[in-house]
């Protein structure tokens, strides 16, 4: 790949700042890297997702930690299923990698099995 000189000609800022564009691209690439690295069936992962209860209201980040139970989707739009056990049963949630509200995917240390006594 040829060396792209950054802003050989300065067009100025458009309607969005370059820092914002850079952050969005970094976030997408980090997410893709984490997906290929950590999202494998049986792995424990934390998925960070932006939640806004109603449009225009304050947004917060929700972290969903669980075991990957399925990886699928098409090649262009991969998806995965994360399950976690709660006191009232099991919760399963499907995430689409291209969802812009999906902030990041983190790997958690592998679960350690209990030793018999």
């Amino acid at each position: 790949m040829i060396k792209v000189l950054k802003y050989d000609y300065d067009y100025g800022t458009g309607s969005v700042s370059r820092r914002k564009i850079r952050d969005a691209i970094t976030s997408i690439h980090n997410k893709q890297r984490a997906f290929h690295q950590f999202v494998k069936i049986g792995n424990l992962v934390s998925v960070h997702r932006i939640i806004s209860d109603a449009p225009g209201t304050k947004r917060r980040t929700q972290v969903f930690t669980g075991i990957v139970t399925g990886v699928g989707g098409t090649g262009e739009s991969p998806a995965f299923i994360v399950s976690k056990a709660t006191t009232s049963g099991s919760i399963e949630r499907q995430f689409v990698l291209k969802d812009h509200t999906l902030l990041k995917i983190e790997a958690k240390p592998a679960l350690r099995g209990m030793n018999s006594r």
Partner: protein, 214 residues
């Protein structure tokens, strides 16, 4: 604002701006940037204090290369008249090349594109004898024509057409998510926004390729 004076790296893009042509327009911009050149276009700034023709002549003066697409010869739906902007800008570019006294301006190079081969002979017969390329209305073909021409006139090694098309399809797949992240609708995306997004994406791709493995 810092303006670069890299004359030999600036490519003036003269093409239609309608929605139908947009896929080719965006593909050409991506190719120019991926080839390491800067794209200059009449849409790069919007200043009511400046006449359009003075803006265009200023851009032509600072660009060694010019890509002119004269494929839009159909009659305008609202006025039933053809658009003459592209041939006018091509004329200005050729005029700058032929009538200028400076070696720098005489050294200008241009690529003329049309949607069908030899069709131009029917509506601009004075261009007969010039080597005009056809993109057949397909973005991938336009990318190939622009890439081959840039490699030829600039004497620089450039990525091949297949690699550029692969990069571009990867970029297009990520673009909707990028736009959602920055809260910008695709229809609202202006020339400067698109160029900034392409540049940042290509730069990131390049740093990922050359940097240490994550």
């Amino acid at each position: 604002m810092k303006r670069s004076t890299a004359y030999a790296r600036q490519v003036f893009l003269n093409c239609p701006f309608d929605q139908e042509y947009r896929p080719i327009y965006e593909a050409i911009i991506f190719t120019i940037l991926a080839a390491g050149f800067a794209v200059r276009c009449a849409r790069e700034r919007d200043d009511s204090g400046e006449t359009r023709i003075s803006k265009i002549t200023e851009i032509i003066r600072h660009s060694k290369f010019g890509i002119h697409d004269i494929s839009r010869v159909e009659l305008d739906e609202t006025n039933a008249l053809p658009r003459f902007n592209m041939p006018l800008k091509l004329g200005l570019f050729l005029g700058a090349k032929f009538y200028s006294d400076t070696e720098k301006q005489k050294d200008k190079r241009c690529l003329i594109l049309d949607s069908e081969p030899f069709r131009y002979q029917k509506f601009v017969s004075d261009l007969a004898g010039q080597d005009i390329r056809s993109h057949t209305g397909l973005p991938a073909n336009a990318m190939g024509e622009v890439r081959n021409w840039l490699a030829f006139v600039s004497h620089r090694p450039l990525p091949g057409q297949a690699e550029l098309v692969r990069l571009y399809s990867e970029f297009r797949m990520e673009l909707p998510e990028m736009l959602l992240s920055i809260h910008l609708a695709e229809a609202e995306m202006q020339f400067v926004d698109y160029v900034n997004i392409c540049t940042e994406w290509l730069y990131k791709k390049q740093s990922n390729a050359s940097g240490p493995p994550a």
